[in-house]
């Protein structure tokens, strides 16, 4: 099947490129197709990339990318490369050529007015870091099972590019990506783990000092952070080894595993084995493994019996991440809330419905001998320990994820009430304006086919919550006002404030009095204008999601967690973003960060004004308003111009 490069093919490509070069700028599209066709013929061959790369410095000026999505090299995004390469037909060819162009820039073979050599190199490094599964094939099970389009060609491309990249820059990017992911402390760590596995593949071929050390630490955190756990990675094997340890050795082992877990938020199967072992044989060492503070220790002591029970029922090699969840749960003191203990105990013996059971089983490997209750309980431990680690996965269910996160923070008893309802009864009911709404009576919702890559609690709850939220929204759809005003307090609970303001006038769909909206948000949320009222409960707000070019993509639900000064003294909004990756680029230089700006694990943050510019609706306490008039006009107009030039393009503006 792989054809060969022939002189004829090269000549034809060269001719087609020359014709395109000679064409007037308006007529490029007439000649682009031939270039793509001939390039494609070369790409089918082994040496085609080498040949095409000889021409790569001419592609941009010739107009190969003109008038299409790849036109402006400075606007390209590394995360989109893989998708284009896997698309059928044209996008794949153009992406290949575009990456060769980027390589030509990086190698100094051509100058680009907007992309410097360093920028091109960074871009390629990021592409490589994000696509290590293609650079090191067979490393991931997923890539083996899901056969994708153009895999061979894409692998060829990455191998080709990697010859030109320095391995240290590549591992640096990779380290940064892993750091960024782990900083958010997500409950589901599949992506992090697969990146670390890639790093391991990479280390097989090259090693470079400090970076290798850092990567090795990450690898150890999921494969065994201590000598013993790393030498004996099979759980059974490891367990036997533990029995032979002296108390002091056991303490050291616990400490090694505990420190690693606290540092990365990642657990190895050995963590669960050790937790079970300690729980039975040396409970006094549990605080060492969990690296508890005095508060955590006090909690453990107070609820020792229940904790031992939880460990016994829920912590297994395939649910090992919940060891970390347990540590944080104890730190948070969740067990002291009176409904939590009976709520957790109920889950152990809960009669789980067959369809829920099978959904839960799918989250772990086969042959583990786990019960669905164990999986669910492990999930609950994680959610209660890491409320900001809840993610919506690949589902459009931001509202449901936000609810789970909010209840895990402030109403664990309620959460433990609805989980059994859903898992046992297949129903959740809520009262909305005096009417009882049962999820079992509803169809549809935003995600009728839920993507299953979710934590166990979300798997159980989201289908119900999603339908109820949709039902509430459709009940108020015709009221001529944004329905979130009524739905959010009813859905999330009474800690959502009753005051509500929105940018869009729902009947006309236009923007009215934007400056007023901005001032009200400042006056109710910004510490300098709101009379120092602190945000007590997360505030569910609606934002416009925009892409890197500031173009509006749609609406999204996040929760403001707190507003505070960052370490370098600027006011930032710290918020919970149900997307699994909270660091995002929204255009106009607005990039939400997940670390280094004072974020707690799981929080995203933005400067106050930048966040405001993407806001479309928020709740506030009408009795806690500060001085709207005091907000500087300059701040307001700055926010407005960011809004106008991004999502504002899609709306008619009536306000001044």
């Amino acid at each position: 099947m792989p054809s060969e490069v022939t002189e004829g093919k090269i000549a034809r490509f060269s001719r087609s490129l020359t014709r395109l070069e000679e064409a007037a700028s308006y007529a490029k599209s007439r000649y682009q197709t031939d270039v793509y066709q001939e390039a494609n013929r070369l790409l089918e061959t082994e040496e085609g990339l080498e040949v095409l790369y000889q021409y790569a410095h001419r592609l941009d000026d010739a107009g190969v990318f003109q008038d299409g999505p790849w036109e402006d090299a400075s606007k390209l995004q590394a995360p989109l490369v893989a998708g284009s390469l896997q698309a059928k037909g044209l996008p794949y060819v153009i992406e290949m050529l575009s990456d060769l162009r980027m390589l030509a820039i990086a190698e100094g073979k051509m100058n680009h007015p907007k992309v410097s050599q360093e920028m091109a190199m960074d871009f390629l490094n990021e592409v490589m870091a994000l696509n290590l599964d293609l650079l090191f094939p067979d490393a991931s099970e997923a890539s083996r099972i899901e056969k994708k389009e153009n895999t061979v060609e894409a692998q060829r491309l990455f191998r080709f590019i990697s010859q030109y990249l320095s391995s240290s820059a590549l591992s640096e990017t990779l380290i940064y990506e892993i750091e960024r992911l782990t900083a958010q402390r997500p409950i589901t760590v599949k992506r992090t783990v697969s990146m670390i596995r890639m790093a391991k593949e990479m280390l097989k071929t090259e090693t470079s000092g400090t970076q290798a050390e850092v990567l090795e630490q990450y690898i150890a955190s999921i494969e065994g952070p201590s000598q013993l756990s790393s030498d004996h990675s099979l759980p059974n094997d490891y367990r036997k080894q533990l029995m032979a340890l002296s108390t002091e050795e056991l303490r050291k082992e616990s400490e090694a595993l505990g420190i690693s877990m606290r540092k990365t938020g990642l657990c190895s199967p050995q963590h669960s084995v050790l937790a079970r072992f300690l729980s039975r044989k040396s409970p006094h060492l549990l605080p060492v493994l969990l690296q508890l503070t005095s508060k955590g220790k006090a909690n453990l002591e107070e609820h020792a019996e229940l904790v031992h029970q939880l460990i016994k029922v829920a912590l297994f090699p395939s649910t090992c991440q919940s060891v970390y969840g347990l540590a944080l749960l104890l730190e948070r003191g969740v067990l002291s809330a009176s409904p939590v203990m009976p709520g957790l105990r109920r889950l152990i013996e809960l009669d789980i419905r067959p369809e829920v059971r099978s959904a839960l089983f799918k989250t772990v490997g086969e042959g583990e001998g786990l019960t669905a209750n164990s999986i669910l309980l492990a999930g609950v431990i994680s959610v209660l320990g890491q409320p900001l680690g809840v993610g919506q996965g690949l589902n459009p269910t931001c509202q449901a994820a936000r609810g789970i996160s909010l209840w895990a923070q402030h109403a664990p008893g309620y959460l433990l009430e609805i989980i059994p309802r859903a898992a046992r009864d297949g129903d959740i009911d809520m009262v909305f304006e005096g009417v009882q709404i049962h999820s079992k009576d509803l169809h549809g919702g935003l995600a009728p086919d839920l993507h299953p890559e979710l934590d166990p609690v979300s798997l159980v709850l989201v289908p119900h919550l999603d339908r109820i939220y949709s039902e509430m929204m459709s009940r108020v759809a015709l009221r001529g006002e944004d329905g979130h005003r009524w739905v959010n307090p009813a859905f999330y609970g009474d800690w959502v404030q009753k005051g509500f303001s929105t940018v869009i006038e729902p009947i006309t769909g236009s923007v009215t009095d934007y400056p007023g909206f901005v001032r009200l948000f400042y006056a109710t949320h910004h510490p300098e204008y709101n009379d120092d009222y602190e945000l007590i409960y997360p505030n569910p707000v609606g934002i416009f999601i925009t892409n890197v070019h500031g173009k509006m993509l749609g609406f999204h639900a996040v929760s403001i967690q707190r507003i505070a000064k960052s370490p370098d003294g600027e006011y930032r909004v710290y918020f919970y973003n149900p997307n699994n990756d909270g660091s995002q680029n929204w255009g106009q230089g607005i990039e939400s960060t997940v670390m280094d700006h004072g974020e707690l694990p799981g929080e995203s943050s933005l400067p106050f004004d930048e966040f405001t510019s993407r806001l479309y609706a928020f709740h506030y306490n009408p009795y806690e308003q500060g001085d709207a008039y005091a907000v500087e006009a300059e701040n307001v107009s700055n926010v407005k111009s960011m809004a106008l030039d991004s999502w504002g393009q899609e709306y008619t503006w009536i306000s001044k």
Binding site: A24, Y26, Q37, G89, L90
Partner: protein, 422 residues
């Protein structure tokens, strides 16, 4: 006398101070990149009149552009004329079917010849066109305009009565098509009274014709001041799917008769400048039946094939011929002899045989054939196949070039059945 006037014009132009060879603009009616390119290559200043959607693109590439909705009947043609006149336009070149009467209207104003507009309307009403041809003694099939389903039923019956069909015989089909659409858009063959029920009110009025047998071909005739400057004959292998230029020797042998027929057509329709694209059927006995005629760029990539076979740009030819001021000398220099084709250029328009495309399948034998030039097919990212309108939206085209018309025909016939899309 006309020549005298021409020379007068020439001297007038040369005395103008701008120092450009042709100081007036050519107005391209319709958005067509190859036509824009052709005008550019001829060094003729131009303005494009096209759908407003193209404004942004035109501005980006510094193309003088006037946005215009051709579909909307309006009284604004005067406004368009004044706008173009102010820009200095004096010639309008129609590129698409819907643009023909607009170009006619503009040219009649530019040259102050009101009848130019009426002549262009003749080309836009297939009923009027056929009647005119018939009155001029050109052989056409039996035709009628229909206003409703009853008319169609009656026509189908009468045609088949005339063919002496009795009850139980299979009917000969009649053809129905909109009066003013390009080529085969909206065309349907009806051989069963039940098919008539499928017509809707929006299909009327329409033109009905009896079925013509025989080999179909088209001509692309470049006419200047009423004279044929170049006659291209395109042989249809399968209407709407494949054709090639110049025709095979057996059809080429009929060129003298064909030329005569064209001359008759030009006279009847009083065509002076531009390109016409008539379609004919050759009966087994050698007589020609006239199908229809258009005055625009033909479909089926025919202009590309002409360029490949004869080496001149048909778009440039059209622009040159559309301008009455072009000199005989220029034209003689431009056109090669009609017998000077460098080979046969053919193309196959591919339409998927499936409703959902999984992948593209281009056979090695095709790519390796000496006659294979290129194709423009990629696997579409979105697999659902669109419904076909006329012969317009084919998914891709394969181009051939070679010295043997029989081999070209074989390739076009064979690959027409090939499943390029799976």
């Amino acid at each position: 006398m006309e020549l005298d006037q021409l020379e007068m014009n020439q001297t007038l132009q040369e005395s103008q101070p701008e120092g450009r060879t042709i100081p007036y603009l050519t107005a391209l009616i319709g958005w067509s990149l190859p036509a824009i390119e052709a005008c550019d290559k001829l060094n003729r200043p131009f303005v494009v009149v096209g759908p407003p959607d193209f404004k942004e693109y035109a501005e980006k590439h510094d193309i003088t552009f006037v946005g215009w909705e051709f579909d909307r009947l309006n009284e604004g043609s005067d406004k368009l004329y004044k706008q173009l006149k102010a820009l200095g336009a004096e010639v309008a070149v129609p590129l698409y079917e819907e643009c023909v009467e607009w170009a006619g209207a503009l040219n009649s104003r530019f040259r102050e010849e009101p009848r130019l507009f009426n002549r262009s309307l003749l080309l836009r009403d297939k009923g009027m066109m056929k009647r005119k041809a018939q009155m001029a003694g050109i052989k056409v099939g039996v035709f009628e305009e229909a206003r409703d389903k009853e008319d169609v039923k009656r026509f189908l019956k009468r045609v088949n009565d005339a063919l002496l069909k009795v009850d139980g015989d299979k009917y000969e089909p009649i053809h129905c098509k909109p009066l003013d659409k390009a080529g085969s858009v909206g065309h349907r063959a009806i051989d069963n009274p039940a098919d008539i029920e499928a017509l809707t009110d929006t299909d009327f009025p329409l033109l009905m014709e009896s079925h013509l047998d025989g080999q179909e071909f088209s001509c692309e005739v470049f006419v200047h001041n009423g004279k044929i400057q170049f006659l291209n004959i395109t042989e249809y292998v399968k209407l709407g799917y494949s054709n090639f230029v110049p025709p095979s020797p057996s059809l080429e042998a009929r060129r003298p008769i064909i030329r005569k027929a064209i001359e008759q057509l030009i006279e009847a329709f009083e065509i002076e400048n531009g390109v016409i694209h008539p379609e004919y059927f050759v009966m087994p006995d050698g007589t020609l039946h006239f199908g229809e005629v258009a005055a625009r760029v033909p479909g089926g990539h025919i202009f590309d094939l002409i360029e490949r076979a004869y080496g001149f740009s048909a778009y440039e030819a059209q622009i040159l011929c559309s301008d009455p001021n072009t000199t005989e000398e220029e034209l003689r220099k431009f056109f090669p002899g009609e017998d000077e084709a460098q080979g046969y250029a053919g193309c196959l328009m591919v339409h998927p045989h499936v409703n959902f495309i999984e992948e593209l399948n281009i056979p090695e034998e095709l790519e390796n054939h000496d006659f294979f030039e290129k194709h423009d097919m990629f696997t579409p990212p979105q697999g659902k196949v669109a419904e076909r309108v006329g012969f317009g939206n084919h998914y891709g085209t394969i181009f051939f070039f070679g010295d043997d018309s029989a081999e070209i025909t074989r390739l076009l016939v064979d690959y027409e059945k090939y499943d390029f899309y799976l």
